[in-house]
Symmetry: C2
Subunit: 909 residues, 2 copies
């Protein structure tokens, strides 16, 4: 690191005081300008006032360090010398830009002043130099607008009333001028118009702000520098820093750089480019340019930008000449710089350039943004080019990038223009378009007729599952990220938006009201489940097919080589298991058995069991379920042949199965040969005030041992049947909601006995394990005792988060938004594991568990199993595997690899 005595770092003519690594001192922009200069790339000369000056400025009651002015003057002299111009010179005036540049990009949060140094005295000289009076007066009026706004008003702390900001007043003058001239666009004003406008501007500034617009170049320069430093503590910047967690002490640097102009004539031009295609990732120089134009013209959209090269021609710009054709020499120079920058920065760069009178200047380079598809392709190709290594390639792909490949997405260009109806929580990624239906039954009927439907409900329940399954997407008005709809949708990789509070659903009239707008059943909507957006109408979707993407396949191979965590999936049906296996799942970490109970053929048996008066009746009813469950388990184990399958015994409270209305009760009573009154009484008896903390999990198996026995029998009979067919099965029976070793022991005895019996009855032998969910705090506290009885642990971090925080995930909607807005919680703890609280219990559980049983297999099967940040934590505490919904498996594989690589990186350091 350079001495902190120095305040100004010069760059220009192939030599810079700074380097790319010194971002903390010089800010990102300044460091990169220095780096490019040192690489011999033509950069307009300039200098960077360090971030330390900013810090000192605020510490020292907004006074600059002594010597700063002298350093700035010296640096200006060097710029003048290189450019052959002089700041404030009448004949050959130098203009400069004054820009902010913090350590971390804070786009649009701080101020910029361009064309500094343009005064009544220097205008003629610049006209002489550029032969373009219109350009010069346009630059002058821009300077006045920018300067009066940024320096004279904002930095001075003036807060004018609504609509009375100097910027608005000047814009109004300009509009008046255009009206007077009978023209529409700024560009239609000529040199004289703009000259006159400048005078009007200056008068207005004096009148409104009580001070004249400064006509001294150095006064302008220091005004600009001061305004940039001031803007570090502007309202917008402070708010942004708080959100992004950027410390106040970092401060911003100020970059003062010679202005170059792409709009001085036909030998001038300006452009932006990417060193590779940011949409596809293809290794091809890609960009746009405009002759005789300023940087902002390229993005403003008034003129159609031209393709950079022949390869870049397509559709709308096919007929326009490329830079490659127009200025072949300059293009070759630019292409050389592109290669140099990419080789140097080892990543795709987003560059800005200006050509002034046939001379190329690079104004900016930075790592370019790109789509997910492009990210993956670039990472893989760069690794193959040996630009980066495979580990770096794996680290470069963010989990969100993979999401793009795994789900259909709305065509981005169309989404921009679509009508946003409402926003909800992004519960299931990807996109879906379809016709609104309000009940699961109708969803099924409409789908049978070949219609594409979106099921819209206040909230969903297990009884809606058939409708959810056929829907393109699911939208609910209530519920959070771990509501029933969200869980089921993610499990299927289905698009889902939940908690969309703006919806009012009227099932009777089959209408939805959103923000005053009425939609009927049958109307089309489109959901973006990755962002939580609901759009009106049917938007075009781009399909997903990751397996066809060779770069994805290669990248995942590399990731698998790096990771230490195993990746399993949460799946309840053979189809889901097969899909997950396709995505790379190495087993099932959680097979919930309760979903299997809602099938109409079975639900009666379970209801019969619930209302049974005697243990004998209960047993008889339960045993009716045995063949169904056996078939379920056999299907899943077959789909996962050769891999472990963890099956959780029945978990939810029984009343979930008897959520019936009057008529249904009457029908059921008839079916069961009992009276509706008695049945109603029994159902009422099952009602719980806090079902989450009620009679569920292993508590069911303990009070109704025949239930555990039936499930164990179904599992082992399925295992025996497959074993007989020569298939390898590894069932792992998981006891839910265990809080004491005694609970586990009670259930383990039943399961182990049944395993023995079934093996004897069928004459087969197969391996199996008996373990437990760790999902309530007490289980973590006594994990050493529990591990004596458990062959594996699987953390149920959903429930563990609920009980550790005392949050019901069904009910947090009333306060969580406030908690996030007020910064009381950094994020939704059901999405990303609360490592400081819940994580402490997980770590304790692992440590205590392995103390009793050093080889204890430990996994996690909560929703956090698919969350990259949480996966990094699970890696760090030494879990054996994470289990997540099928469509999260690739993301989990990647996140696990990144956690391993990051850890090794740390160890090496």
């Amino acid at each position: 690191m350079a001495s902190s005595r120095r305040n100004v770092y010069f760059f220009g003519a192939g030599k810079a005081d700074g380097r790319a690594e010194w971002k903390d001192l010089l800010g990102g922009k300044g460091a990169n300008l220095a780096e490019m200069t040192n690489l011999g790339i033509p950069v307009p000369p300039g200098f960077t006032i360090t971030t330390e000056v900013c810090t000192a400025y605020y510490k020292n009651r907004k006074r600059y360090p002594s010597g700063l002015r002298e350093e700035v003057r010296k640096a200006m002299a060097r710029v003048e010398k290189i450019m052959g111009l002089r700041f404030g010179d009448i004949e050959k005036p130098l203009l400069v830009s004054v820009r902010s540049g913090a350590r971390q990009s804070m786009p649009g949060m701080m101020e910029t002043v361009l064309n500094v140094g343009l005064t009544t005295k220097t205008i003629p000289g610049l006209i002489a130099r550029t032969h373009n009076a219109r350009f010069v007066y346009d630059a002058y009026r821009r300077l006045i607008m920018m300067y009066s706004d940024v320096v004279m008003e904002k930095a001075a702390g003036i807060e004018p009333p609504e609509g009375r900001a100097i910027r608005h007043l000047l814009e109004r003058e300009m509009d008046r001028m255009k009206e007077a001239r009978g023209v529409k666009d700024d560009v239609d004003l000529d040199a004289d118009d703009l000259k006159e406008l400048s005078e009007v501007f200056k008068k207005t500034v004096k009148k409104v702000l009580g001070k004249p617009f400064p006509d001294d170049p150095y006064e302008q320069l220091w005004g600009g520098i001061g305004a940039v430093f001031q803007s570090w503590n502007g309202k917008r910047a402070i708010a942004y820093r708080r959100i992004e967690g950027i410390p106040e002490e970092w401060g911003t640097a100020v970059n003062v750089q010679a202005m170059v102009f792409g709009n001085t004539g036909d030998r001038s031009a300006t452009g932006v480019a990417f060193t590779r295609n940011p949409a596809t990732g293809e290794k091809a120089f890609y960009g746009e340019w405009l002759p005789n134009a300023q940087g902002e013209d390229v993005v403003a959209g008034i003129r159609t930008p031209r393709p950079l090269n022949k390869k870049g021609k397509r559709g709308e710009n096919r007929h326009l000449r490329s830079l490659e054709e127009e200025m072949p020499k300059i293009y070759r120079q630019l292409d050389g710089i592109r290669r140099k920058l990419e080789a140097h920065y080892r990543d795709m760069q987003d560059i800005e350039f200006t050509i002034e009178d046939g001379r190329l200047w690079m104004l900016q380079t930075r790592t370019g943004k790109r789509t997910g598809v492009a990210t993956i392709r670039m990472a893989v190709e760069m690794a193959k080019e040996r630009l980066i290594n495979q580990k770096e390639a794996v680290m470069r792909v963010k989990p969100d990038h993979l999401d793009e490949l795994l789900h259909p997405m709305i065509d981005a260009s169309k989404e921009k223009k679509a009508v946003l109806l409402a926003k909800g929580l992004p519960a299931g990624p990807g996109a879906g378009a379809g016709q609104i239906v309000l009940t699961a039954d109708r969803a099924e009927r409409w789908a049978e007729k070949g219609k594409r439907v979106i099921l819209v409900r206040n909230e969903t329940s297990p009884e809606d599952v058939h409708g959810m399954h056929v829907a393109e997407a699911i939208l609910t008005a209530k519920g959070g990220m771990t509501s029933h709809a969200a869980l089921v949708a993610r499990g299927w990789g289905k698009c889902c938006v939940v908690g969309c509070g703006a919806l009012t659903i009227d099932e009777k009239t089959r209408r939805i009201v959103v923000d005053g707008k009425v939609l009927k059943e049958g109307d089309w909507i489109t959901l973006n489940g990755t962002r939580g957006h609901v759009y009106e109408g049917s938007l075009p979707l781009l399909p997903a097919d990751p397996a066809k993407n060779p770069y994805y396949r290669e990248l995942m191979r590399w990731a698998d080589r790096e990771r230490r965590l195993g990746i399993r999936t949460n799946a309840d049906r053979p189809e889901d298991a097969a899909a997950a296996r396709g995505f790379g799942a190495e087993g099932i970490g959680l097979c919930r058995t309760e979903h299997m109970f809602f099938d109409p053929q079975r639900i009666t048996a379970i209801r019969e069991m619930i209302v049974a008066d005697t243990a004998e009746d209960r047993r008889r009813a339960i045993m009716k379920l045995l063949p169904f469950q056996r078939k379920d388990f056999q299907g899943i184990m077959a789909a996962m042949e050769g891999l472990p399958v963890t099956i959780r015994l029945l978990d939810p409270p029984l009343h979930e199965f008897v959520n019936l209305d009057k008529k249904q009760i009457k029908d059921l009573a008839k079916e069961l040969g009992t009276s509706p009154k008695l049945l109603e009484a029994r159902i009422a008896q099952l009602h719980e005030l806090n079902p989450m903390l009620g009679h569920r999990g292993c508590r069911l198996g303990i009070t109704y041992p025949e239930l555990s026995e039936m499930q164990a029998r179904a599992i082992f009979q399925a295992a025996a049947a497959l074993t007989k067919k020569g298939k390898k099965v590894f069932p792992e029976v998981m006891i839910p909601l265990v809080g004491t070793a005694e609970e586990l022991l009670n259930q383990k005895e039943i399961v182990a006995r049944v395993a023995k019996e079934v093996q004897k009855e069928t004459g087969t032998r197969f391996p199996y394990l008996i373990g437990t969910m760790i999902e309530i705090p007490r289980a973590c506290l006594v994990a050493d005792e529990i591990a004596k009885e458990a062959e594996f642990f699987s953390f149920g971090t959903n429930d563990l988060t609920q009980t550790t925080f005392g949050f019901s995930r069904d009910d947090i909607g009333s306060f969580l938004p406030d908690y996030l807005a007020k910064g009381i919680l950094p994020n939704d703890p059901f999405q990303s594991l609360d490592t400081g609280g819940v994580g402490v219990l997980v770590e304790m559980g692992v440590r205590k568990g392995r103390k009793s049983r050093p080889k204890l297999k430990v996994g996690i099967c909560g929703e956090h199993g698919g969350d990259p940040k949480s996966i990094a934590f699970f890696h760090s505490v030494g879990l054996n595997y994470v289990s997540c919904s099928p469509y999260r498996v690739p993301i989990a594989r990647l996140a696990a690899a990144q956690a391993a690589i990051a850890e090794n990186g740390k160890k090496k350091r």
Copy 2:
């Protein structure tokens, strides 16, 4: 300890091999017989076969150690010598008893054989010695009955079908004999009858059991010894050991002792006595005796026992002569023994004696059972007599003993004979008698008319509180020990029985059905809330008034000197606070503010707040509550002047305040000027699936800061008003349900700001603290962070137990009974703190909290604050205080003292 080689320990004639301390080896009975012998007290000689023999017997396939027979023979010879008799001798036969005696009393669980040594050959000798043929034949037939049952059937492992046990068959023979003789009672059979019966008995034994009744004395002796050892592993004994946690390895000793007879004539007698009065504790020799009788006659109730002394004469035995009058010399000897025993054992003794032909023999001494009142008086008086020290006195009183003083109780003699209707959970101690009413409103009306009522409900809610308050007692069909009814009742020291599942309440017909019996509203019942019993009719109650009991006052003074824990109370009303102060509370540890909201005048304001659309409307509604709350707090702080008062901000979910039916909604809508439909929608919106984990606690104050502000203002305005009156107040504001430091900080800022404002506005200064409940697991995990913001912690162990176990205390009724029955939980964790799980979190919370803030004040205000076992734990982890309901305060003071004394005892050891 004696060498373990020795199998037999002799006692007799003033010298014994054993000592009272050797209970492990000799069993309680044997050790005490040895001790009495050594004290020079006349004990019939005998010997003890050690518990180690029993252990060896079972280890060695039921074979005795070699040498045992020889040792027994030698010991018998010593007994014969002392008694001047010989075992099996024709002229002067010795009879012995064979009794079990384990380390810990197992009443009735093991076997006894009396009169061993009586054979056809020794009968004439005994008749000659006693001059009483009837006595001898009666002894003989008793021996046959006992021996054939205990030795020949049970110990032999014979399990006859129902009603075919030898005992029953012999009893039937005896009945036949009585019928044939035309007599009713056993005593009406004469010597010849009994002689004949003995022969019948012997024939029956031979026929049924296939073996003759042994006529050899040593065969009888070894049969008896074997039967006692066998009975250690009898079904009853095994079951008892499992319940009491007695290890199998302990084994039982066998005591063989010369028989002495109190029924040989007029100079013989038998009796039982207590060294002090076990009912009142008075220091007076108290007992009963019968001339010419056997021990069992005293308790059998056929003859009215006579008073031991003149002082003991009362009512029914006033006319009977006392032992003091009848045998003054023997009485004086007995009184001397009584003094000796009490001085020696340093506690009240329960003794048995027999007088055979004018000679006194002591058969047993043991520490006597006594009532609570007696326990306290004895402990205090013995300490004053310097028999024990004050610490010992404090240790001797069990918390249940105090309960007797603190609540009215059913007259024990009447309770025995009362008709038990049903059993429930003992939720509020003491007793209550009254007329059944089924609604709170009628309870209030009836009470106004001067009726004594018992409110009977399925369960209670805050809306029943007025009815609960006027009721003598509360009975609910549902709910557990921490249900609403239980909590409120305990808070008031009111008798309450909950979870009485046998009740079916029909509000329409105003009837209750219990086990087929129909009770109407207005019928009388009596509850024993200490035991959970419900009796038919009105039983007489004994009133409570501890302050009038000087022994209680003295004992509590001693206890207060010993304890380190402070004792506070949970009280929401000035009357309760004053009552608690009377019981010795040193402050309020928990003042819940929500109960104050249910007052009809206030509930509308809170409902108005709940349904408010804007923050402004909400604020206005809330502020209506300010004067009410200020008054509440002022009353409580005045009642607790000079002591700290911890006030918890609003905790329960808001929907608890809008539990309304259709009509109420309509009325409220009218009152609030809104539509019933809108109101209904708003109420529905508040519904939560798991309210326990929902929008409550500090989450309310964070989303509605004006609520916390109003409450803080009410607290501090009350404090200011009292300060102005010259009163000392110490308000402590407690933020509930905190899980992150940020939550506490958010609320603390509001409270601290309001404190400042109020002090400024009123020109007063008063001390105050801001702290937090620690009641969810996460708070314990991050207690170090929370302690940075908290001036005190108060553990809410009710909620902490709920979240740590994942148990809803409202819903555990469905599985907790099973858990207790199956030994999965040792006890209800809501009654006695789960030290292995929840306790680990408490300990962690204390440790981490004090790490950040070494002087952090830490208390506990859950229901466990009144539970002695839990109090010992709280003492051990270094809490500053426990807070419990007013009527538990004396118990907490005692338990805290006992914990401190026990700890010092341990340290010294």
